[in-house]
């Protein structure tokens, strides 16, 4: 027994279909995971409080709506970098110390970036000479 006859005899067609389905299901799952991966990372990085946000999704939406229009797209990446520095420094933080750290880390134009973030209210004074990340 050879050829198509042998394939049919040993359930080759069914096995092929199952194989194709398994591969496609895997690829679709993988692509979906890759698609949501940046969102998951962004949520984890956002204030380092993924649990608080996931538990109150309704609060997350207005907060992001508040920030989005004020943050220039050109400083979005800088915002992420500075957020990391500030989370390391703790709040309230010293503005000159933040600029000093940014310079040491080799971030581009720290003075102008900090100024942009103040204008966008990403960084706000606490009234005592120190600064806070976002309005709290």
């Amino acid at each position: 027994m050879y050829g198509f006859e042998a394939i049919s005899h040993h359930n080759g067609w069914a096995i092929s279909v199952v194989g194709i389905l398994i591969v496609f299901t895997g690829l679709v799952t993988l692509s979906l995971l890759i698609r949501v991966f940046p969102k998951i990372i962004a949520r984890i990085e956002d204030n380092g409080k993924p649990n608080a946000q996931s538990s109150s999704p309704q609060k997350t939406i207005p907060q992001s709506k508040k920030q989005e229009p004020s943050i220039d797209s050109s400083i979005k990446e800088a915002v992420r970098q500075y957020q990391y520095l500030i989370s390391w420094m703790g709040e309230p933080f010293s503005l000159p110390r933040l600029i000093e750290l940014a310079e040491k880390r080799g971030l581009v134009r720290p003075h102008a970036t900090v100024s942009q973030m103040i204008h966008a209210s990403v960084i706000q004074p606490d009234g005592k000479g120190y600064f806070l990340w976002h309005a709290k």
Binding site: P96, H111, S115, P125, K128, G129, Y130, F131
Partner: protein, 154 residues
Amino acid sequence: MTVEELQQLDVFKDLSYSEAAQIHAISKAARVNEGESLFEMGNPAHTFFVILSGDYMIFFKDGTAFTLHQRGEITGWSTVVRPYQYTGTAVALTEGKVLAFDGSELLRLVQGDAALGDKIMAKVYANVGERIAFAQSRTIENESFKTNDISMEE
């Protein structure tokens, strides 16, 4: 900058044309680059600045700071207030333009013309009232630290 433009700045708003002309004569417009220092803490206060454009940060030894963004805001007021020594450091956050006044010439004008002096000093104190209190609180804290250090050394 013309005398008329100078009169539009809040700190000089109440000056007559002739008074503003005297102030204008000792003013120098200067460009400031991003990251450039206008003055440094502890140095003798030689220059008084009025902001024309740009953003600036004034910071102190303990890491506290405030920022200036508005045209007409003033900094370097230690030039006309004893002990004539800068209490903080001013850095430009963006490039901008300032109007610089030589401290001794400004003092000469302020002390030589009582009416002019009153008008300028009233504006200076009105503008920097909060900052003076802020700076004084910093000085008191620093002095208490020094006192503690001295008593510990003793």
